[in-house]
């Protein structure tokens, strides 16, 4: 909790100040008003002394006591001002969310109009109507605050009001007062509170300024601003007379802001809303700064903690379960099989040995990718299939050397086109990557610069890496686009990315990658955002690159159908590891890992019996933070034994089946046996927990 609220020592101190101020609001006047009002003609305008630390005023009243007493009026007036501003602002700001489109735009325009009027002008205008004095100042400043508050509320409410859960509540028939009170206001409260605190401290400052000028609080009442004006003309004689109230104003302002921060954080963390788009892996241009988008795309899996514990419970019982991630108990007897060696001839397009990816997390480091070894042979089409969060994207990004801190990548070997990546640094490494590897992500728009025409983007790499001149590079780009069956390629080069359809863009990105004639294209869910017709075009484009240029393809997808039909060899990932590797032709009929088999059975296809329930896999996949040091599938596996819950099964070659590997203590002995998916009945028990 402490971390989530960001309670640094400085902040704790400010909170203590705030608490003290609040105590003064309550207790200040009763305790010190006697001293504050006591006229002492013997000590008029006295300097600082032990009896009067801040000195006295023209009537000999103790200034320290007056500062303490003034806390109540100063803070209450500031609060009243902010409250008035926000009451008006929030009420008006919520209107657009409730009104029909026409009235909505009238209100929105009005708010914008008022926001455009300088606050000072508005305050002066109101002040001339309501008159000077404390009441006048509060009303004038409060009204002046209202437009900003209204605009903020309007923006926040519009974003929350557009949220799907609000639409969902409307559909079930929830009426608007409840929509506002239960769904919209609570979800916009945090930023409003923050803003309210800031407005309060601003109001404090403004009110003090007005009182200082004699336009605010009128004698015999006094606030800090009024005291400041008393003290200021003696600044050089008795500094504390002016510094005292001045410090009080500044300190109170800062403390109120800190209080607002903490309160807002408390409200916000009350509902851990990790709004994440599951199926939307971020697309990244190879040159883009990676950390941020990758983190956003991947933060996705941050765990639903409570449900997690249910699924992880059996695994947690295993002795080694809470060992540090990556601290896997030594595999007994069998040595993990390295990725099958590439056949003699040109070097493998990609070879990684024991790739692990970790990143710091709240509870120590998590290791979402563990000991992945894979080879993509020259001109080979390899697929990685697995569920969301299984580590596919991280594996791909790490293989393409695109991960940056906070991700820590470890490999025993990492070769691209036969060249060890880590032997090189800086430019040499970038050149190797630039020449031998292209990356295609789910969202082509993020790989293309929206401001530049395609010509520039499609020729840049070839000019740099293949030493072509602009004319040759343009020729090559047109050639590429034509090969990818893009209509009117010459004209396309003159267009901006937004002028193309999704499928065209994705093909443009592939063309961009192919202009350097790389040995390998890594494509992470390249068709997930596209419809079937376009999906086919994009896969055909990749296929053509493979057939005609001998470009190897590493295709990543959660769609087992796409993988099975496109690839020659398939790697199945679960819980950050490769659990099975097999030729695509064997996938449907001859898989031996329980997870692969259950996955195949759980997805309906065109032959599925419509009269029977679908086989399902109980529970849900583990998140990166829940990965056990034993078999990650054990909690959901129909064949799990004690051993499975205690030890990590190593990825070993499958006897008598060249090119096949499996990580399971009890692989299905007979490939023709029925898939070991749990019966529909069991699944319910599991999910209910």
């Amino acid at each position: 909790m402490r971390e989530r609220l960001d309670l640094t020592p400085g902040r704790i101190a400010l909170l203590a100040v705030l608490a003290a101020l609040l105590a003064l609001v309550v207790a200040g006047p009763p305790l010190w008003s006697g001293a504050a009002d006591e006229i002492d003609t013997a000590a008029m305008r006295a300097g600082a002394s032990a009896a009067h630390p801040f000195g006295t005023d023209q009537l000999g009243r103790d200034l320290l006591a007056r500062v303490l007493v003034a806390t109540r009026l100063s803070l209450l007036l500031a609060l009243a001002t902010a409250a008035l501003g926000f009451a008006l602002g929030v009420a008006v700001g919520l209107l657009p969310a409730l009104l029909g489109p026409r009235l909505r735009s009238v209100v929105a325009t009005t708010i914008n109009l008022f926001v455009a009027i300088p606050g000072l002008l508005l305050a002066l205008l109101v002040a001339t109507i309501v008159g000077i004095g404390a009441k006048g100042a509060v009303i004038a400043l409060g009204v002046a605050l209202a437009p900003q508050a209204a605009r903020l509320t309007q923006t926040l409410a519009a974003s929350v009001g557009g949220a799907e859960y609000v639409a969902a509540s409307r559909v079930v028939g929830v009426r608007w007062p409840r929509l506002l009170g239960r769904h919209i206001l609570p979800n916009i409260a945090a930023p409003l509170v923050l803003q309210f605190a800031m407005a309060t401290s601003q109001a404090l400052l403004a009110l003090s300024a007005l009182s200082f000028l004699g336009l605010g609080v009128q004698s015999p009442d006094y606030d800090w601003g009024a005291l400041l004006s008393v003290g200021l003309d003696r600044m050089y004689v008795t500094p504390m007379a002016a510094l005292g109230p001045g410090l009080a104003i500044v300190l109170a302002g800062v403390a109120i802001n800190a209080g607002g921060d903490v309160l807002a954080a408390a409200i916000a963390t009350d509902a851990p809303q990790r709004a994440r788009r599951r199926r939307r892996a971020a697309g990244l241009a190879p040159s883009a700064t990676l950390a941020a988008p990758v983190a956003e795309a991947l933060a996705d899996e941050a765990a639903p903690a409570a449900a997690a514990s249910a699924a992880a419970a059996p695994a947690a019982a295993a002795p080694a379960a809470d060992a540090a991630p990556g601290d896997v108990p030594a595999a007994p007897a069998v040595d993990p099989a390295p990725a099958p060696p590439a056949p003699a001839g040109p070097p493998a397009a990609l070879r990684v040995e024991r790739l692990s990816v970790s990143l710091p997390a709240a509870e120590g480091a998590v290791t979402p990718v563990r000991e992945v070894s894979l080879t993509v042979g020259h001109g080979e089409r390899v697929g990685i299939v697995g569920e969301s969060g299984s580590g596919k994207s991280l594996t791909a990004l790490a293989a393409a050397a695109l991960l940056e801190p906070p991700f820590a990548v470890e490999t025993a070997a990492h070769e691209i086109a036969g060249e060890p990546l880590f032997a090189r640094a800086g430019t040499g490494r970038r050149r190797l990557l630039g020449r031998s590897l292209a990356v295609v992500f789910q969202d082509p728009l993020s790989a293309l610069n929206p401001a530049l025409r395609l010509r520039r983007q499609l020729t840049e790499a070839a000019i740099e890496h293949r030493d072509l001149d602009a004319g040759e590079a343009t020729e090559a780009a047109i050639e590429r686009l034509r090969e990818l069956r893009l209509t009117r390629p010459e004209q396309r080069l003159g267009q901006h990315p937004h002028e193309l359809s999704g499928g065209m863009r994705q093909r443009a990105v592939i063309a961009m990658g192919m202009t350097v004639r790389p040995g390998l294209i890594v494509a992470d869910e390249p068709t997930t955002a596209l419809d079937v017709a376009v999906e086919r075009e994009v896969l055909a484009a990749l296929r053509r690159a493979n057939d005609e240029d001998g470009t190897a393809i590493l295709l990543i997808s959660h769609d087992i159908g796409v993988i099975a039909s496109f690839c020659e060899r398939v790697l199945v990932m679960y819980g950050g590891r490769i659990v099975e590797e097999l030729p695509a032709a064997d996938l449907r009929e001859r898989a031996v890992h329980p997870y692969t088999r259950a996955l195949l059975a759980a997805v309906p296809d065109m032959e599925t019996d419509r009269d029977r329930p679908l086989p399902t896999i109980p529970g849900r996949p583990p998140t990166a933070a829940e990965l056990p040091a034993s078999c990650a599938f054990a909690a959901r596996c129909a064949f799990a034994s004690e051993r499975c819950r205690a030890q990590q099964p190593p990825l070993v070659a499958l006897d008598g089946a060249p090119g096949r590997r499996v990580a399971c203590w009890h692989p299905a002995p007979d490939a023709a046996a029925p898939a070991p998916a749990a019966a529909a009945g069991d699944e319910r028990e599991e999910e209910r927990r």
Partner: protein, 253 residues
């Protein structure tokens, strides 16, 4: 006719320069007690059609008839009457559940939107709903963030059921779920239909899913229905090229 009948529906989304006719003259029937599957590519207008059937977007033309009464452009009281009968389950249960409300609060809210229920009756109703979607009643106290994707989608379904509608429109009910849990949600949809005679309009881009759950299938492309028919017949002999393409893709071609 009893059930949903959409006639000549035209829905425009966006405004000004970005205006776009997403649903362009659609006729579609969901007779009482049947499951109709609606397939089509992304952007073909499926979701817009779904939102129009519960009045979340107003059509520019056409009729949305339920049991013979036209609800196109309905507002206020009439719209509430429509929504008592037709409910929508959204694609992404993560986005469609208020992160601040517990499962019990979400369900109670829906259950009391059209009926008055006392405290005890409300709790009993939440319990019944959770059981109906095969979730442990103890989940009433959970917040969405602590549920798995499959569990969340069950909660969304339970919320729709809370209104006791005759028809549920499920927009890509499994698209946001992991493949290993989508089967459980599909099984649940089938069970519900068998137990309670609910009609369903199930929207998906996946022909295999639609085939598994539906009696009838409609294929949508570019805002129009390009083919419609009894599920088995349509799959066996598709007449439209696009339908054929979808079938090929589903067959793993």
């Amino acid at each position: 006719m009893s059930g949903l009948a959409v006639r000549g529906l035209r829905v425009q989304v966006g405004s000004g320069r970005n205006a776009h006719v997403a649903v362009d003259g659609v006729d579609l029937d969901v007779p009482a007690g049947t499951v109709v599957g609606l397939v089509g590519e992304s952007g073909s207008g499926k979701s817009t059609l779904a939102r129009a059937t519960v009045g979340l977007v107003a059509p520019v033309a056409g009729r949305i008839e339920y049991d013979g009464e036209d609800f196109a452009g309905a507002r206020g009281r009439r719209l509430r009457r429509l929504r008592r009968r037709v409910q929508l389950v959204f694609q992404d249960p993560r986005a469609s559940l208020d992160p601040r409300m517990t499962v019990g609060e979400t369900l109670a809210e829906a259950a009391t939107a059209h009926r008055r229920l006392g405290r005890a009756a409300r709790a009993a109703e939440v319990r019944r709903l959770l059981e109906q979607v095969q979730l442990d009643p103890a989940h009433a106290a959970s917040r969405p963030a602590s549920l798995s994707g499959g569990q969340r989608q069950r909660v969304s379904l339970a919320r729709a059921l809370a209104v006791r509608p005759d028809l549920i429109v499920a927009d890509e009910p499994t698209a946001a779920l992991d493949v290993s849990v989508q089967g459980a949600v599909l099984n649940l949809l089938r069970d519900l239909r068998e137990q309670s005679g609910l009609s369903l309009l199930v929207i998906s881009h996946d022909m295999a899913i639609v085939r598994y759950v539906s009696d009838r299938v409609a294929v949508m492309r570019g805002g129009r229905i390009v083919e419609e028919g009894e599920a088995a017949a349509l799959m066996a002999s598709p007449r439209n090229d696009y339908t054929r393409l979808l079938l090929d893709a589903a067959a793993g071609g």
